[in-house]
Amino acid sequence: MDQFFPDSVWKAVQLLKQANCDVVFEEKALCCGQPAFNSGYRKDAYEVAKPLIDLLTMTNEPIVVLSGSCCSMIKIHYHELHLPPELEQQWVKWKNRVFEFCDFWVNVLQNPTLPNSFKSPLRVLFHRSCHALRELKIVSAAETLLQQIPNLELVYTNDFDACCGFGGTFAVKFPEISISMADSKLDYAMQHKVDGIASLDMSCLMHLQARSQKRFLPLKFWYAPELLIYQ
């Protein structure tokens, strides 16, 4: 998000500030380690996760993560890195203070500001991203939030919450299968004449957007919280 989607991060920061939160951006927090972990390189993932764990141990405040799969990695999967006992103890202390943005907005801040309103109707295909849906189980909270926005209509694919095909390095290991999965989503979006696709995961969107651009499709892409202040 830092390199490719800084605007989406700013939107989240702006929202938190509107909700009277004091936002601290931890510049030294770089990556959760998921890419290596999911590819089987647990040691490399551990090397990346360790400084992050040390860093997050120093704060007593809630930790907001933008994107479901990073959040799920930090909140749920870190013990699978075979952490040394003292590091594991530290992680256990703060892991329940880690929230994906939408989870934080709905369940901690209790929906602080009035939702945005769109001047003209906007149809958005909502991609229920896998880790937010099945691991963090925060998708329905996000949907309830978005459904309050006047003039915003959420559309769903009929594919039983299938994956978009990104899957980290899967996208480049099996590119043909990966884009076939993306195309299923994009074709559905085009058939149902939506304006764009929203999701709780920036990585799904990065992959869908890149495929959409390759096909010259007129679709927009939003990290879900952006819809709260998007005009």
Binding site: L30, A36, D44, E135, F170, F174, A210
Partner: protein, 466 residues
Amino acid sequence: MNANFYPNRFSKVAKEALDNADLQNALTKAMHHSQMVRNQAVQDFSDWEEMRNAAYRIRKYTLDHLDELLLQFEENCVRNGVQVHYAWDAQSACQTIHLILSSKSAKRIVKSKSMTTEEIHLNHFLESNGYEVVETDLGEYIVQLRNEPPSHITGPAIHLNRKQIADLFHQKLQLPYTEDPEELTKQARTILRQRFLTADAGISGVNFACADSGKIVIIENEGNVRLTTSLPNIHIALCGIEKILAKEQYLPLFLRMLARSATGQRINVYTNFLSRPRQPNELDGPKEIHVILLDNNRSKMLKDIELRESLLCIRCGACLNVCPIYRRAGGHAYGYSYMGPIGAVITPQLIGLQNAHLLPYASTLCTACGDVCPVKVPLPQQLLTLRQRIAEQASLRPWLEKVGFKIWKWMFSNNAFYVLLTYLLGFASKFGMMKLFKPWSTYRAPLRRAPLTFRQQWKKRTYHER
């Protein structure tokens, strides 16, 4: 290594499958339907999650007490007059079956659907030893006529459409051409009935083997298992050692869950119980029943604390039906008798990591398989564990990936290197070098680093605010 096993050709076979429009249509339709009916059927229970927990505990009890339970099962079988054989591997299982059949001069064999017989390549073995083997499950009969392995655990011919089956019957069996499913079924039935009546022996798999009664349970929808297990004089059931259930009283739970998970049925059409051979006062049933308990690396899997829970599997196929990779790659891409997520987990354990090292990577870790599994096999975690073991073996992953992750590790664990990465990405984006990363950019627009990263913007803004 048998030439029939080809899991390491996953990418190639999957690509062919993607280009095969017939296959894509057939699979998409079938998998969509399977998911829909399964989800509806599961709604019957408000306590499905508790049922899954119970099923998990019962199956786990089996794994934890397998040594005692196998002996108990054997004892009860022997008391019932059923003969029990142990087979250490595929070869000894085949040889045992060969011995049983040849001692009775049995030549004509009818078979009902069994993935375990696929695992040991039984048909190939029997045919090369002069036996005449016919598959009697309709889907299995179709793939046998096409000389290919089944492509799905419960629906062997699910990759084919009606027209392909019509062509096959017309060409191979010289029958009048019809695309009517009912007519096609009738044609197959007429042929198979004759085979049943003249068969010397029947071979089946096993769904559940009850330790406390010695009964074998096989479920089906077509009635062919009933005929296979009751018409010929000899019956042989091939049973993986993990199929044991400690108590018969657990069956109602498993039958409900298995039928719903597999096909969305409330209950399958036939539930066959094999308890003992034909008694003097009985009119039908086989005179001899043999059970072959097959290990074939299962006890090795059992010893593996991290992966043993893949032996909980009851072969419902629900994880295949939800898997978006299976749906596109098709069952044959997995190159072995088990496919989809469960195949990606057990095939490397059964035939060795090096022989199936691509399979655990053939998943986006979307975790749909883990959620749908009726016995809670932790499929996503097991895929991750296998990936870790594969990555640890020097020869199994490309060196570029290994080096890549080393560099990635430096970049993301050290701020100075991260700044360097930022400049490199900025440079590459500016001069169109991002499109050189072909696996991404062949099918997608190249990524572009933002003119200023969030970190850079944040620094500037906080500087101005001060």
